[in-house]
Amino acid sequence: MSKSYPPMHKKVINVFMLSLTGLAALLVVSVLLFILGYLVWHGARSLNWAFFTQLPVPAGEKGGGMANAIVGSGKLLLLASAIGIPIGLLGGIYLAEFGKGPFSLAVRYTADLLNGVPSIVIGIFVYTLIVLPQHHFSGFAGGVALGIMMIPIALRSTDEFLRAVPNTLREGGLALGASKAQTVVTIIIPAAMQGIVTGIMLNLARVAGETAPLLFTAFGNQFWSSGWNGPTASLPVVIFNYAISPYEDWHRQAWAGGFVLLAGIFVTNIIARVLVSGRHSPARG
């Protein structure tokens, strides 16, 4: 069959291509590992208890922490989730299970488009919509900006995971006299739950690191912000400000901030995966 390729020739090509693909894979992983290692090396060294409990100190002074930025990031993510997750989730359920025809096509397309909008543009949008009329930066505006970013991702991931549920389950529910809505709520959504929750976690992880839309919405704050109405510190913005400053001490704190951000995302992901690794998840394949 393969007269023009003697076995030796084949083996050489095989080994060569295999090494090439392996090398590419190694390259990808090593870049990631390098970033991670660098972050852990610099970040973990600069971490101490004060980092989590104290406010930032003026430049030149030793010590201080990012307690307000950690809490601020949490607040912003909370508000963003309250906006993005319900809208994305319900919209995704509609698209996958009930929507038909040109309307859902238009919604899907719009969501993909919105997903591709640069985050700074969403920042300007919220700045014009909320910050300008109110004449001040606020945590509220920052949360809204992140929430808008979450909507299309939550929508599309929910949509995709629901549509991946085999149709036999839908028919199985209907065949027992369940209504369409009952089938969706009691069978289809639980079947897709693992994917949906993972999608939302990845979504959270993505917006947790967003800086651009916060620069001119939540702005930043050296102190605690009370409520939602004032400028609010957040980890990414503080990291940005500290990293571009000329002070050695601030650089170290920026590394620590990056490390904490990453660790937070990492831990949330693991918790989510453990929580939803249900016993009844369908076998893959």
Binding site: G172, A175, L176, G177, A178, P190, H280, P282, A283
Partner: protein
Amino acid sequence: MATPPALFDLKKLHHARRARFGDPEPAETEPLRAQFTVADMNFFYGGFQALHDVNMVLPEKRVTGLIGPSGCGKSTFLRTLNRMYETVPKTRVTGTIRFGESDLLEFSPTLLRRRVGMVFQKPSPFPKSIFDNIAYGLRVNNLCRNRDLKGKVEECLRRAALWEEVRDKLNESAFSLSGGQQQRLCIARALAVDPDVLLLDEPCSALDPIATAKIEDLIFDLRRSCTIIIVTHNMLQAARISDYVGFFLQGKLIEFDAARKMFQFPSNKLTEDYITGRFG
């Protein structure tokens, strides 16, 4: 005209059937009642006509096998009987189907599907525990008080001859069962809502011979308490378990008759060709 040769040795088949099921065929004493009466039925997928002028009466509390080559419309026909086709966009039915005495369209789809259960080709257990799979139909239809649920689930599993195999692991995932067990679970699940009819869409095509034999035994046990309509690719299976057989070809019902007559002396040349394996 000479008598056509018998296509199957039915005597042998029935002997084997009796040996296996240990239950002699009951004599047909009372006249059969109609479960479904189909008149001038046509079915369309958009512009494509999948079924042409189907007329047939499906008898109550009997096993009816539907045979025919792939794409002949037998599964489509099955899906008109519980209006499952309505979940597919751009489908249309003309003509009438009566369920018992009333028109099929007079029922709400949910009520109809409760009374006309369906089991699919691929075992499709829900991603829930074995217990919750059986209890599902009872719960969504509010058919059972909570304290009676346990007894009812056991009853259904016993009817589906699955109880002994799963009694100690009711809370385990339905996916922990084998393919054949999953399919019997789906039958038990369908039985839980006490349907008048069970539609089986090639229930054994994904199963090995032993699991298939168990499903056939089960159908045999249910045959006088429930109307069973089964689509099958397996001619011998149709001959083994059916009381009546319908043969579909290219969207048309070619022949419908008692199984023992149809397999021995088919009245249509096309049926004979199909049964003897000349095409399909």
